[in-house]
Symmetry: D2
Subunit: 292 residues, 4 copies
């Protein structure tokens, strides 16, 4: 079991007119990720509308905010009890047997133009043996080809751009891996969260983006940017790509500061809490029963 | 009430290996569109897996097909009893009050990069009075700026391309209108169907693509390409854009012929069946209760 | 007559290996722009290879630089005696009578995809009366539609991006105007220089990019970003677009600091030197005899 | 020596208004390609303005054509006496020693966005030993990765598109090879011509596009699409990419038929005329003295 304590502080300045926010910053609730405790502090106090997407455990919060300063603080203690599977047991699911709810993750999306990459992906990955290892081969290929560089991409950067330019941040690694997976008919999607265990040299802790691939009967985690162990990823949002899973969608004239985020892990082996570490197993933080 | 009879015949050649198809050709079932009769003929006979998306009434059929020829024939008699509303009564819904299920249709998608068009759309449409008329102004703007030309675009063509190049087919008109709507925070989505009433000079009847915009408490129909009256549109599929709502998604080495499609309308005023015609009302073919 | 004094200081750090630079920072020499005095200081001292393009007066300097710090200092006193013409006398030249050397400036280039904008430009500008006023109408359209914002674009940003996103810096304004001109068969090209008279609120003086359009028998100046009067532009480089006319092209692992640039104008009416100011005339800083 | 006889017939319909044409269909005249005989027939008879670019031997013809049908017939007998060099003797030229006239072919252009491919090209080709073999390795890489398919691309297709989609026609192969060469600082440009020796299964003879790379003291020929031996290429036009070297640039409302082209080679060994065949040598059809 992994226990992570996280804290997020977001700060915005709203000009002139009341503005709408849609936040997706609550830790997700799934059969494998439990919220032990959490608190939310909105300054100034505002009416919150919170709703959940049962299929992926994501929680959304809407705020309507008057001009001025908005501060959103969220803290949570989260236990993650990953589903583990031996990679050798995980096979790809034929298209004809994919659950209907998984089908949309085969299609191209805003930042993952898998339709344009069919030849490319088939040449690189079409001959590999199907299964978990193929998804991992795609992950490794993306990681090896792409240089992690802060500020090297922007909100318009797509998988095709990253493939061509071979540089990006975590979201770009995720988009490229997703696009290449879909291009060989592997359902793949975008997950956001907070990661424990990144090298501090990469800069302050920030929201992180990673990947899930559907194998066997559920979604398994991949971290193509390689900055932190999969085991240390707190799950927040899920989507086809970053267009769906922004931690904060703003409607209005708003300026935002950099998020202040911290995360720690509990090390208490006597009580079964281990630090996140690389694992030879395939890991999942969501059950095929979530959303059912 | 509108009664339409439609017939679709699709033909494919499958090379070498068994291939998977996902069809979305059944007329949708909603509270406003009723299937009076339908038949499906698959040659050679094959096991079909059919499932519906209750939220939009779309029905999907999967086939696994051995090498050789596949012919899919579908006929249906469909009654459409549109929900009608006076445009003057239809207002835009503030983001803070949109149903959660509508939110994804505010985000950019594969072919509708609304994120890149915010300044453009705000300059053109930001000052217009909100409501049905603004959606219609966007529709008219797209129709007036874009030349309908068969073969002028391909499966990679996006809203940005169409805005720049000002030429396209129905799907391109739809993508551009959707992208511009989302760029001013109007939820918009892509609908496929068969249209009654197009000018035969435009060529043989084919699958058609059009638009829905969320206004008041439901999705209202728009036909930006202007080739047929909204009233003559049989609803089939729904999605964020064409990536989600293809009538046929193929996995394998397959060549396809042109679809053979026909559609007729019943004219029987004594029994309440009228021919589709332009309407001053806003029309909807799906209820806010569908999917609930 | 305009007399401008300019000073440029550039600073680079070369890592590991000897690296090549191609600079285009000398003030151009044309029949209308005279170098009264200039000096160049390279630290450390290096062999310079300097050559000129007689057609546009541009001068290029190549350096091969060992690892370490490179500082390039250039100062010049430049007299500009513009060719002036009444806009009413300037007509567009039919394609069939354009000088061969002008033809390449009708074609699309890296950042000016005029081929994709033919319908767009024809709709917006095709009906306008041909001549200087049409070029100015295109300039004004670009200026009115595009927001000047530092940092809003990068080296990959093209005219199509700027048309869509409606934001950019001087180089983006120039690219968009050039692309739209070529799309209606007006030869247009990219000019770099230093501008006198910009609002200091826009930040420190930097290299500037502007536009020339071929009308009558020569190239006339346009400044689509509107940040400084055409009369205050010292000419440096000329190209189809920014791909050709970078002030500094580097081959190697190099980091560069921000340029330090200053420019002043001589005000000495007794001797015929006037401050740059807006002019109702069409102005040219290059002769049809240059390069002949 | 190679002697080729070629014949070109082009047909156009000009609607409504007099229209301008710029043709680049004459065989180029260089120190290695001699025009033994040629004839030109314009129907209806029209005044021709023909001019040459001495640097590359290209000849351009302008026509102003009234509404109606235009037929352009051109035949030529061309002797090509290639400059030959052993690949082992051909080294890359350091940027610091490239002739100024070669520099523009290092820069990105409309269809060859080498600026975006620096990391990609450096990873794939940066470690290879410099020289002819590296250019050939890039050629082979492009040929091996790209599927030749008629109709798979259009006039907007660029090197980046071809790299991503891995399909195209000769012009796309050329653009991709050029972009990758420039991205590792190898000057490369686009050449058009008629090719002898293509497999008839590829369809009727058409204009062809291929590549020149600057090595040693001149431009050497490469044929990345691999459809015909380099020795069988009649040189016509030269440019940075297809934007510069179209065989026909039209200004007006014009419809064009498919070109009718034929080419034969003289086999007369007694007189020193050999059929084009693959050669182990590096071949050039232009001299460093051309244009001097």
């Amino acid at each position: 079991m992994i226990r992570l304590n996280l804290s997020i502080e977001l700060r915005y300045e709203i000009a002139n007119h009341p503005s709408d926010f849609l936040f997706n910053i609550h830790a997700a609730q799934t059969r494998h990720q439990t919220i032990v405790a959490e608190s939310l502090q909105i300054t100034p106090p505002l009416m919150q509308v919170i709703y959940a997407d049962p299929a992926c455990g994501a929680r959304f919060m809407r705020l309507k905010v008057d001009p001025g300063t908005l501060i959103v603080g969220y803290t949570a203690t989260v236990d993650i009890n990953h589903h583990r599977e031996s990679p050798a047991h995980l096979s790809e699911v034929p298209v004809s047997r994919l659950p209907p709810s998984v089908m949309p993750y085969l299609y191209p999306s805003r930042y993952c133009q898998s339709d344009r990459l069919r030849r490319f992906a088939t040449r690189e990955f079409g001959h590999l043996q199907q299964g978990y290892w193929r998804a991992q081969a795609i992950q490794d290929w993306v990681r090896q080809r792409t240089t992690f560089m802060s500020g090297s991409s922007d909100v318009s950067t797509s998988a095709v751009d990253t493939l061509i330019e071979q540089v990006g941040v975590c979201r770009d690694f995720a988009h490229l891996m997703i696009a290449l997976c879909r291009a060989v008919n592997l359902p793949a999607r975008f997950v956001t969260g907070i990661d424990y265990g990144a090298d501090p040299a990469l800069g302050p802790t920030d929201f992180h983006a990673y990947v899930e691939v559907f194998l066997g009967d559920r979604w398994y985690l991949f971290e193509p940017s390689g900055v932190s162990p999969v085991m240390g990823l707190v799950r927040i949002g899920t989507g086809r790509d970053a267009a769906d899973a922004s931690f904060s969608t703003m409607f209005g004239a708003i300026t935002s500061g950099a998020p202040l985020i911290s995360i720690t892990a509990l090390h208490d082996e006597a009580n079964g809490f281990f630090l996140p570490q690389p694992s030879p197993d395939a890991l999942s933080s969501i059950s095929s029963m979530d959303g059912a």
